[in-house]
Symmetry: C2
Subunit: 244 residues, 2 copies
DNA sequence: AAGGCTAATTGAATAGCATTCGATATTTTC
DNA sequence: GAAAATATCGAATGCTATTCAATTAGCCTT
């Protein structure tokens, strides 16, 4: 009896160890060579098993990749939660900055996996990273945002999903821009302006009134009249220009 | 002499016609079956040529796909320019709404191609849609934005590339959200809130303080930078004036 | 316009790879 | 401890992109 239970325990452990080995090998090789470039043979060899054996763990190369991707997203979620747990800032915008910093860097470093996550859906319509994994990841932002609203730091009428699309969408696109324009320099230095811009955007669009101390109306009025004057000048200059 | 010229013309025309046939066939089949699902044999058959002939026009399946993608992006650029040319609104925000509407719908309808554009880079590192094609496409936004700044509708200190990342990034991400959450309903009705949100965001974050009448430091800074901008304009206009 | 020369076209042969499958080894059960 | 069940293996299969030797069509000279 006891031996039977023990046996199946060690057997299960053995299988799980082997599955981890496959997954680890697959992750490394997918990262190194991309999906198409990865050879099942090499994954098998690297995991120390026969080629055919992989197929008793995963039905296809695509499903193996899927498992790798899900593990990857779970890891990201944990990391993001870790960032939120360890950041000292208690205000919304300070915490948002930390999350933006983490996310942007992550997206740049793991661009391959991010792309594959959405490319897989196309190539093999049966296989795609489950919505739950992605939803779990973005839940970190959702929590932060809702807490900001509860604490009155954010406008109560702000719409969560819009803010989420803006946050993750802009950062992902920025990551691509950084990748394309500064292939070499992907340091924090290159990323900081993007992060700052994102925080500023949330401050002005979702932030509740706050610090913007109202200035002297007189200053403003004087500036405005200067402006009107200049505008009129430009108009007359433009008309006198020969080219136009 | 004359016949020679005419002959080579017709010969060139013939080759170009054949190339178009290949491209058309490839586009249809890539759309229907995706990159991996598309068979070179079927593309050849559909184009009315032998399998091997494709390879005297394109070096590989990936390069054929690349050509299709570039044609696709060129088409998008033309369409976007067309939208900008035909929209009645003359103010920045009205025109931005039109562009957002067009882009969001396009991204949803052509999600496959959009994804493949960035997925190809991974699969085959030698082949990727040229930056110029993408840059040309986003130039439509750039122009609109710069004009808005010139006309004083947008804060002069707004940063173009940040605004661009926010615009295209958010819309692309929103498209994915719409795809994932409302697989069935991708109508304008589902898209309108996203477009409205984008316009509202640009209004509050980049717009120059309008009716709100809340005069805070941001407004002041914005007026000052508008002023600087106009001064510079006047300077350059004065220089170009013949009389002076 | 005939014939030689070049470029284009073809589809059968090649080669690379994911996946299958019959044979073999290991574990579980009684 | 042997039979049944399960796991592993890697050679064989099947499917495709790609190549290539043979063939055809276009072009130019005389």
């Amino acid at each position: 009896m006891a031996s039977k239970a023990i046996q199946s325990e060690t057997q299960r452990a053995k299988l799980e160890r082997k599955e981890r080995a496959i997954l680890d090998a697959a992750r490394t090789i997918f990262v190194d060579h991309g999906f198409d470039g990865a050879r099942m043979q090499e994954i098998a060899r690297s995991a120390g098993i026969g080629e055919g054996t992989i197929y008793s763990y995963y039905d296809s190369k695509a499903e193996l990749m899927l498992a790798v991707l899900q593990q990857f997203w779970d890891g990201l979620t944990l990391e993001a939660e870790g960032v939120m747990a360890s950041v000292q800032a208690t205000d919304f915008f300070g915490r948002l900055e930390a999350l933006a910093q983490y996310h942007l860097n992550t997206v740049i470093v793991n661009a391959d996996f991010i792309n594959l996550t959405f490319a897989l859906r196309r190539n093999n319509s049966e296989v795609s990273v489950s919505r739950d994994h992605l939803r779990h990841y973005v839940a970190v932002f959702d929590q932060l945002f809702l807490r900001g609203q509860d604490r009155g730091e954010l406008r109560a009428d702000a719409v969560l999903w819009q803010a989420r699309d803006i946050f993750y969408g802009s950062l992902e696109y920025s990551a691509r821009s950084i990748e394309m324009t500064m292939a070499a320099d992907r340091s924090t230095r290159a990323q900081q302006p993007v992060v700052d811009g994102m925080v500023a955007l949330f401050r002005s669009h979702y932030g509740v009134g706050g610090i913007g101390a109202t200035t002297d109306k007189a200053d403003l009025a004087s500036l405005e009249s200067r402006l009107d004057h200049l505008s009129a000048q430009i108009g007359s200059l433009s008309d006198r220009l020969p080219g136009s």
